[in-house]
């Protein structure tokens, strides 16, 4: 059952990938220019997306059957589920607005998220006592669904910005748009590097002195560019680090970050060299036919749809469960605080939009910040800010 589950996830990944190319075809086709009629490419593309979604639901169900609990209990499972919800949200929005260009960006982002998820340990693990509750299923799935719908506003915002930002001259806007592009390229680079070295089964062990001046061990899965404090390489024939970190910094994580940034820079540099343009400018022809007002509305609409779901899942259900499991509904745990920050941010977004007329480009930049906060809560809070939610 566990094997079938893994294969279904793999199948969905491939289907989304193929779907992306069909969405690419859909916007190239002249018939797709008017919104109301979908061309053949678009119909095939959305069909593949739905098929991929069904396969991923299959992965979800089979893994649930294998483990006896909903597969949302560690970082791999949660992030994969988040990717699945992103696809679901996209399908929903697609049927309201019928814009293939949205798929051309939503699918690759979902693919990146699922690929990123699979860099975490994938074993089926049993539930620790704190997670043994039906609220695990209720709270985590609703919170992920809310975040996914909110993320669609980011996808639409990217479309908006790629089209609206003037690429003929360099300015703050082109810079920040490139930062977004680079972040995605670096994520891709992280996935490539991590899976390459994991396929080679790279392991290098270090002993080092931690901040309490006690000896500790690290197992590196990437060649050490950055070594731990007073680190001694134990595994023979592996690379020695160039720089040593102070004891207060987790050198293993820092090494992964440096690898991602470097390989990201190389990949990004290659793209710039080959195309002789900014990365956002490479994508610009793809959004030629996009109606800016419509994309702006999609971005706003997905926040309107996502905000109540997020509130329900990430705050209300979360509080109910926290009262049962942790004796209090609110305890200022970092994950709780970042859920509150996400909520406050989108509340500010809605007020700015309603009353102060932040439409179009301003609103698109805000949607980007909102997504950054969601990603921060998913990645940084789990991996760096220790708290009650660090399960994986």
């Amino acid at each position: 059952m566990a094997e079938l589950s893994g294969n279904l996830l793999y199948a969905s990944f491939v289907l989304y990938l193929v779907g992306t190319f069909f969405f690419g075809g859909a916007i190239k086709d002249k018939k797709g220019e008017t919104e109301k009629k979908q061309n053949k490419w678009a119909i095939i593309a959305i069909g593949l997306t739905i098929l991929g979604f069904v396969a991923q639901v299959g992965y979800f169900i089979t893994r649930w059957l294998a483990s006896g609990h909903a597969p949302v209990s560690n970082l791999f499972e949660f992030t994969t589920f988040f990717g699945m919800m992103l696809i679901a949200a996209f399908i929903l929005i697609y049927f309201i607005y019928k814009t293939p260009a949205l798929g051309l960006f939503a699918l690759p982002i979902a693919l990146l998220i699922i690929a990123y998820a699979s860099m975490f340990p994938r074993e089926i693990s049993p539930l620790i006592p704190a997670l043994q509750s039906d609220w695990l299923h209720i709270h985590v799935t609703t919170a992920a669904a809310g975040q996914a719908v909110l993320s669609i506003s980011f996808v639409a915002a990217i479309l908006y910005l790629i089209k609206s930002v003037d690429q003929s001259k360099r300015n703050k806007k082109t810079f920040w748009l490139e930062v977004i592009m680079f972040t995605m390229v670096a994520t891709l680079a992280f996935v490539i590097i991590t899976s390459t070295f994991s396929a080679l089964d790279y392991k290098a062990n270090f002993t080092w002195m931690n901040k309490y001046n006690k000896e500790d061990v690290f197992e590196y899965h990437l060649p050490a560019l950055i070594g731990p404090h007073e680190g001694v390489l134990l595994t023979e024939g592996k690379m020695k680090p160039f720089v040593e970190m102070p004891a207060i910094i987790d050198a293993n994580k820092a090494n992964t970050v440096v690898w991602s940034l470097f390989s990201g820079l190389i990949l990004y540099g290659l793209l710039r060299l080959i195309f002789r343009r900014r990365v956002a400018a490479i994508f610009k022809p793809l959004v030629k036919n996009v109606n800016l007002d419509l994309v702006d509305e999609i971005s706003y609409r997905s926040i309107l749809i996502g905000f109540p779901i997020f509130t329900l899942g990430a705050l209300i259900f979360a509080m109910i469960w926290a009262q049962i499991a942790w004796t209090r509904f609110w305890g200022w745990d970092p994950k709780e605080v970042w859920a509150l920050i996400t909520w406050l941010f989108y509340a500010a977004f809605l007020h700015l939009r309603l009353s102060r007329g932040w439409h179009g480009e301003k609103s698109a930049w805000l949607a980007v910040v909102g997504f950054a906060i969601i990603m921060f809560n998913l990645i940084v809070v789990n991996l760096i800010l220790a708290g009650l939610h660090s399960y994986a």
């Binding site: 483990s67 049993p126 704190a130 207060i248 200022w332 605080v337 920050i341 509340a347």
Partner: protein, 545 residues
């Protein structure tokens, strides 16, 4: 005398009205020349936009401003994120002093964090003031808007003023003279789309989803109730938060219940997943060693019977047995008891033999209960052991005197006086774990360690929170309001006949795509042309310039 604004249509509007509540005519000079009118709050007379003289006006205007509200949200958002950089004081190990801990763990930045008080950020006075100000802003901003908005929407007339229609975002004129039959079709089509259609002198007002306009005010009310719940926590008697450490076999009064309840720990256990039993998880278990499956305290809850006089022992009556697990608290009478911590194998009894050091002959065994030790243990044949001192959690203080750190038997030590027929005065011996001292000279006898008994201890949180229902009500109302405001839209379509022309205007508070789709479907098959989006036209015009 109360100031009023008279409109040409005869309606009397309150002072400060921008668009006539009834016919929509532009009353405010500033808006007369603009191409489109500002439809927010229907151009109604908001107190904050009308008066700005007294100090009350100024305070009111400050808190009713969305700019101020959003600023407060952003301040809270940034402050909250600062509080997550390092753990808050409540999450650092309880044995650590905050003053030392932050610097030791995080270096200089940790020290600074502590000095600025960020280790208790969420209960700091300035954070609470920001929340209180946001609450005030929620209340005042809502009242400032909801009252005039309600008036305006209630008083709106079907036939609107020309200027009102012309300056809507969606507006179009179709010149024709015989469209009577179309009107009936349009009405039917609108009704089938669940619009409420009103007609007067051949003019149509189709409206739907007006209740969504109240969504923001409903959700703000929910938030205000939620914040009130937060304040009620500080009232005495509303909130109990105590910890109860309970050993196996032990029965204690429950703190926070004023002696009304007692709890007995029958057994505490920790279970782990078994690789053989749960084959699916074997890879995951191998990776980390052990994964805990269950923390469970089997307890019995007792309630005091009747009133007891001071000094008299209370009688307790059993209420129920329960297995407290994580996620399965024991609940009774507004109280809940949660499994939060534990200690395995705490020492409960120690056994010693009185032994002659040279012959190894023993003269009896004593068992000391570490919770309730006796002072004298009589043995047979004239042998006895006096327990002169007992240190449950022993250490030497700075003067090398034995002291106890706590009343918990973590590291017990004893001073015995062994009385034997040949040493009737007794020999003094100091006995700790793996350590024996003879402070008054060489002894003939010793207390030889013979064994220990242990038990498990559970830690339970005792919680009473009478404010919970308020949070629940507040949260529920917020959800209703936010859904009401987000998932429905207030759409209006005006169709009017003017001198052989048909004027059509449309307005929605959001989701213009949906309104345009509605209009184009309604107009399909009629001779009326679709209205233009004047905002788009304006933008295109600006770009061409």
């Amino acid at each position: 005398m109360k100031e009023v604004v008279n409109c040409e249509c005869g309606h009397v509007n309150p002072h400060g009205t921008i668009l006539c509540e009834s016919c929509g005519r532009v009353l405010d000079d500033a808006q007369k020349d603009s191409k489109m009118i500002d439809m927010r709050y229907e151009g109604s007379a908001r107190r904050s936009q009308t008066y700005n003289k007294s100090i009350i006006d100024k305070i009111w205007n400050f808190f009713s401003s969305v700019k101020v509200g959003v600023s407060l949200i952003v301040i809270l958002l940034i402050a909250s994120s600062v509080g997550t950089i390092f753990p808050q004081e409540q999450y650092i190990p309880p044995t650590e002093l905050p003053k030392v801990f932050y610097e030791k763990e995080y270096g200089f930045s940790g020290k600074l964090y502590y000095l600025l008080g960020f280790h208790n950020l969420y209960s700091s006075w300035w954070y609470l003031i920001c929340i209180a100000m946001l609450g005030t802003s929620l209340l005042i901003a809502s009242i400032d808007r909801v009252v005039p908005l309600y008036r305006s929407l209630k008083k709106q007339k079907i036939a609107r003023h020309e200027g009102f229609l012309k300056k809507q975002r969606l507006f179009g004129i179709t010149s024709t003279d015989k469209q009577a039959s179309d009107f009936e079709e349009i009405k039917k089509s609108l009704e089938s789309r669940r619009y409420k259609v009103k007609e007067e002198n051949g003019n149509i007002l189709a409206e739907k989803g007006r209740f969504s306009r109240w969504g923001p005010y409903v959700n703000h009310a929910g938030l205000i109730i939620f914040l009130i719940g937060g304040m009620l926590r500080f009232l005495p008697g509303m909130y109990v938060d105590e910890v109860l450490w309970l050993r196996e076999g032990e029965m204690k009064e429950i703190p926070g219940t004023e002696g009304q309840y007692a709890l007995k720990n029958n057994q505490f256990k920790v279970e782990v997943y078994d690789k053989e039993e749960d084959q699916t998880f074997s890879a995951a278990i191998d990776k980390v060693g052990t994964i805990v499956k269950n923390y469970q305290a089997d307890v019995t809850l007792y309630e005091k019977e009747g009133n007891t006089l001071p000094g008299e022992d209370a009688k307790f009556q059993k209420i129920k047995d329960h297995s407290i697990k994580v996620n399965v608290p024991l609940k009774h009478d507004h109280f809940a008891f949660y499994q939060v911590d534990y200690k395995l194998d705490e020492l409960s009894e120690m056994t010693f033999n009185l032994m002659n050091k040279s012959t190894k002959e023993t003269f009896g065994t004593i068992t000391i209960s570490l919770d309730d030790p006796k002072t004298m243990y009589k043995l047979q044949n004239g042998y006895s052991v006096e327990l002169m001192s007992y240190f449950p959690d022993f250490e030497f203080d700075e003067n090398q005197e034995p002291v106890t750190k706590s009343p918990v038997p973590n590291n017990p030590a004893f001073i015995f006086n062994m009385k034997t027929p040949d040493k009737p005065e007794g020999e003094v011996s100091f006995v700790a774990i793996q350590q024996t001292l003879e402070p008054l000279g060489e002894n003939t006898y010793k207390m030889a360690f013979a064994g220990v008994d242990t038990r498990n201890v559970t830690a339970l949180t005792v919680r009473k929170d009478l404010t919970l229902w308020i949070f629940f009500v507040g949260g529920g109302i917020f959800m209703i309001g936010v859904i009401q405001g987000a998932y429905w839209n207030h759409r209006r379509i005006w169709i009017q006949r003017k001198d052989g022309e048909i004027w059509l205007a449309g307005h929605t508070n959001k989701n213009w795509h949906g309104l345009k789709r509605d209009i184009s479907m309604v107009l399909e098959g009629t001779n009326i042309t679709e209205p233009k989006d004047q905002l788009e036209a304006k933008e295109v015009g600006e770009k061409e310039k």
